[in-house]
Amino acid sequence: MTDTTSSVRMITGTRLYLYVSLSLVAMLVLLPLVTTALGGFKSLGDLRVNPFGLPSEWLWSNYLDILFGDRYWRQMLNSLFIATVTVVLTVIVSAMAAFTFAHVKFFGANQLLNYFLIGLMFPAATAILPLFIRIRDLGLLDTYWGVILPQVAFGLGMSILLFRNYFRNLPEELFQAAFVDGCGYIRFFWHISMPLSRPIVSTVGIITFVHSWNSYILPLIMLNTEEKYPWPLGIMVYRGEFGTDWQLVLAFITLTILPTVIVFFLAQKHIIAGLTAGAVKS
């Protein structure tokens, strides 16, 4: 009797402890984000005396001015274009290479796979200067391709590994049946492997997209024209221009991260699984 009551009491105690701790951490996580979004509605004077609270007067103009200008939309579209092309190229190029590693026996296959896996071990930053010189000599400086091609190249190691492991786990009967029917490798790839690979295409796609959408150092080095800037570069320029007009900078930051936040909440399951499971599986 006493046993059960004590254990019940312990459970409510634990419960309280859990909720208090979790809520505290959640507050610390959300506070900078919420104050940023609210700050975008304030006047500078209001922000100075009251950075935490609700705006004393809701100034929609900070946000509306940005939304009705073309700067914000241009940067978003630039980022979207770069990320989309990067994803499409990465998926096609790495799936094709991974297909040969998974299904075609050829001399030096293992060595070649290991060659690609070298790319997993060091960050793009290590070779950024020679990369800049190469892009310049190819005449790709200040073009989207100067950002896209290195991004695809540096994503290949992980993508090839993810695709290869996935292809290898598809049921073997499929191959036997198809090959007996006289189906060649290339038809097999397009008509059987790829249609069956939706989960891994989405994993690779999500990792690559998020990476490209958020990337800063490559476009920083490869692009010079502001019209071509993706949003992480654009936001830095904006902040440089408006300096201490924090209310405008905060509104701009909020609008730039808004698409990410919305997509994250809509597709949370896929995004979390893609970003973590992708890391673990490779």
């Binding site: 859990l18 290590t126 200067l129 020679p130 290339i186 800063y216 992480p232 673990v280």
Partner: protein, 312 residues
């Protein structure tokens, strides 16, 4: 597709009557597939990843401003300059501190939260989402947001100091404080990723083992220390691996926060590479930083996998 599935059960046989072996070389189009499917990846990877890395090693032996061809051979002089440079030493130390804090503070925090979220209580999913959110945001945006938080005139830190009647600390302008400010942002930004790894790891832990320990009278801490933690071993090792590799490449987060300042106190290897190599077009020196970073990354990755992840 349909005609293929129809023959799926047929006994596979070749003209010679032998059973068809999977990956048999008799499959049509082996050569075309190699010629068509491999070169795009091979070309991109070689041109934009491997060659630049090799060139970094080559350029690091020259003094070069990036125009024409490198001609002024200086041997290991760039490395000498680098290791005698106070800012680079600071960058190395900072990268070390970042690794230590990531491993000793961030990972335990992530594990603690993951353990709490393993309980079946209402709201678990919401907490998970909130904790993972900073990881999805761009480093640049996170850096700018925290620049506002730390701002001495308009930011949250200023308001808190004002509330307590203390003089406002200009955190990011303070040589001694700035690095701690950066570390706090790193934890805020990345703990959610490690937490998710642990949540996935915990789901694989066999509950019956925990129940057995409970019946044997193990306390909560004992259960954690002697059952859960050992069973999470491979996840912990993986998490540390990601923390180390991630710490070494830190750049995007630092630039909007401090740009490596004040007076180089928050420099990392990559911000140093950018500031001294890229913006001043000192190709030799910058490439030398790249080589040092490469050697550190590869040594750590290989060494760590060899020693700690042998059985994973």
């Amino acid at each position: 597709m349909t005609d293929m599935t129809a023959t799926m059960t047929a006994v596979p046989a070749t003209a010679s009557g032998k059973k068809v072996r999977y990956k048999s070389p008799t499959v049509r189009g082996r050569l075309p597939v190699l010629i068509l499917f491999l070169p795009p990846a091979l070309l991109l990877f070689t041109v934009f990843v491997i060659l630049p890395m090799g060139e970094a090693a080559w350029y690091s032996l020259y003094r070069w401003n990036g125009y024409g061809t490198p001609q002024q051979f200086v041997g290991l002089r760039n490395f000498e300059v680098l290791f005698n440079n106070a800012a680079f030493s600071q960058a190395l130390i900072n990268n070390g501190i970042i690794i230590l804090v990531s491993v000793l503070l961030q990972i335990p925090l992530a594990l603690w939260l993951a353990m709490m979220l393993a309980h079946r209580i209402a709201g678990v999913v919401a907490f998970r989402l909130i904790f993972f959110l900073p990881y999805v945001l761009a480093d640049v945006a996170a850096g700018l947001i925290w620049r506002f938080v730390y701002d001495g005139d308009y930011g949250l830190v200023a308001a808190v100091a004002g509330f307590f009647g203390v003089a406002t600390p200009y955190v990011l302008a303070d040589r001694g404080l700035a690095i701690y400010a950066v570390l706090a942002v790193i934890i805020w930004k990345y703990f959610g990723f490690h937490m998710m790894l642990f949540i996935a790891g915990l789901q694989a832990v066999d509950r019956s083992v925990l129940e057995a320990a409970e019946i044997d009278g193990a306390t909560g801490w004992q259960k954690f220390r002697y059952v859960t933690l050992p069973l999470l071993g491979s996840t912990v090792r993986l998490s540390i691996f990601f923390a180390v590799i991630g710490s070494l490449q830190l750049f995007d987060l630092v630039m909007p926060l401090t740009g490596g300042g004040p007076s180089n106190s928050t420099q990392t290897m990559v911000t140093f590479l950018y500031t001294y190599g890229v913006t001043r077009m000192q190709v030799g020196l910058g490439s030398a930083v790249g080589v040092v970073l490469f050697v550190i990354c590869v040594t750590l990755a290989f060494g760590y996998k060899r020693i700690f992840m042998r059985h994973d």
